[in-house]
């Protein structure tokens, strides 16, 4: 069998290397624990050609118990872990992976409650994000905390539903999915950049991070999906009605969430605080919230004919 011949050739190569590296003993396997003693029995079962456990033993044994291949395996696995650590460290510099993990720490109860608030924000009373020793609590424990799970899922679902809508109008082709995805992504990036720029110009001292803004901008995709599906199932009137409902819902949701983060404490309570600064911040909050329905309509109207 050429298999055993190749194995024995392999073994002879290893023996030659053993001699060159001046290892004591006629057979290098005696220097290391032969952990493959249990191996040959298993390998004998795995092989289809039952040449007997005797012949199945030496080839398997020579592969696993040979110190050179052992060394090679250990070295290879240590190289792999080193490489992975280096990749992780360098990746962490560009994309803060540990911070991202916070935004995906969700569970089903949170997702259900958050979707309920997105659809019907009028009954929710307490919009404050709770903190735990100066760090925000994970979304699993606080329904007001922003997360990235819902926006990501909603974005992907939006692309799929857009493909479905285009397909029902015989306008579908696979490239269009990519075009929809990239244009929606571009609008999202431009919206986040515009919000960041306006936050810088108004000098608001807030703890809103960029990822928070991405999360808030992604919440409108939930309403868009339901609007498109309603339009597909029940016609244009259903589309307009559901878009109207969700535009109002996302407007109220954004205002109530951003009010606590952007405005000063007194103004957030509802008292009328004078001063151009608070007025500017109020305008900023209103314009961010008002941009959401515009985007919702802009990104969906071409899908409903």
């Amino acid at each position: 069998m050429d298999y055993s011949a190749a194995q024995s050739g392999f073994r002879q190569q290893h023996n030659m290397r053993l001699r060159n590296s001046s290892v004591d003993g006629p057979d290098g396997g005696q220097l290391f624990d032969d952990t493959s003693a249990a191996g040959p029995a298993n390998q004998g079962v795995y092989r289809n050609q039952q040449a007997g456990p005797q012949a199945a033993g030496p080839p398997g044994q020579s592969f696993l118990s040979d110190p050179m291949s052992n060394l090679a395996m250990v070295y290879g696995s240590s190289l792999a872990t080193q490489g992975r650590e280096m990749v992780d460290k360098n990746l962490d510099r560009f994309i803060p992976i540990s911070k991202l993990k916070y935004y995906f720490a969700v569970d089903t109860v949170y997702v259900g409650k958050k979707l309920g608030i997105l659809v019907f924000p009028y009954m929710h009373k307490n919009w404050e994000v709770s903190y735990q020793q100066d760090t925000p609590v994970a979304p699993r424990f606080d329904v007001n905390a922003p997360d990235l799970y819902i926006p990501t899922m909603a974005f992907i679902t939006y692309i799929l539903v857009a493909g479905l809508a285009l397909g029902t109008q015989n306008r579908f082709s696979p490239e269009l999915l990519g075009v929809q995805a990239s244009s929606a992504l571009v609008w999202l990036i431009m919206e986040v950049l515009a919000v960041l720029l306006s936050l810088y110009l108004v000098t608001v001292n807030t703890d809103l991070t960029t990822i928070d803004l991405v999360a808030f901008s992604g919440y409108k995709y939930v309403g868009m999906i339901i609007g498109i599906i309603a339009g597909l199932l029940f016609g244009r009137l259903a589309y307009y009605l559901s878009m109207l409902w969700f535009c109002g819902a996302i407007f109220v949701f954004m205002i109530r969430t951003l009010r606590l983060k952007l405005l000063s404490e007194a103004a957030a309570e509802g008292k009328l605080v004078r001063g151009t600064r608070n007025q500017l911040r109020m305008y900023l909050t209103m314009s961010i919230a008002a941009a959401q329905p515009v985007f919702m309509y802009w990104l969906t109207y071409h899908l409903i004919r």
């Binding site: 075009v179 990239s182 244009s183 992504l185 571009v186 609008w187 990036i189 431009m190 810088y200 110009l201 108004v202 000098t203 600064r277 500017l280 071409h302």
Partner: protein, 82 residues
């Protein structure tokens, strides 16, 4: 509506070029947006105009040199690939 990420990058490069081209003493001082007018009062917050002037100044300072490289790459790519 068919935006791609590449068109976004092109638009961003064009905008940053536009900001970097504004000349300090020939133009910005003439319309009152110069550097010396941005050190306003010592109030608690600067105001939008001062923030904008600071932003323009910092973009010009930071992006002057990298823009040389980015523009050259863009020109070469456009020449090669249209």
């Amino acid at each position: 509506m068919a935006f791609t990420l590449y068109s976004l990058i092109q638009a961003a490069i064009l905008c940053i070029n536009a900001v970097a081209v504004l000349h300090e003493e020939r133009f910005l001082s003439k319309i009152g947006w110069g550097v010396e007018q941005s050190v306003g009062g010592f109030g608690d917050e600067p105001g939008i105009k001062v923030q904008l002037m600071n932003l323009i100044r910092s973009v010009r300072t930071v992006m002057r040199v990298p823009l040389i490289g980015v523009n050259s790459v863009c020109i070469v790519l456009l020449l090669l690939f249209g």
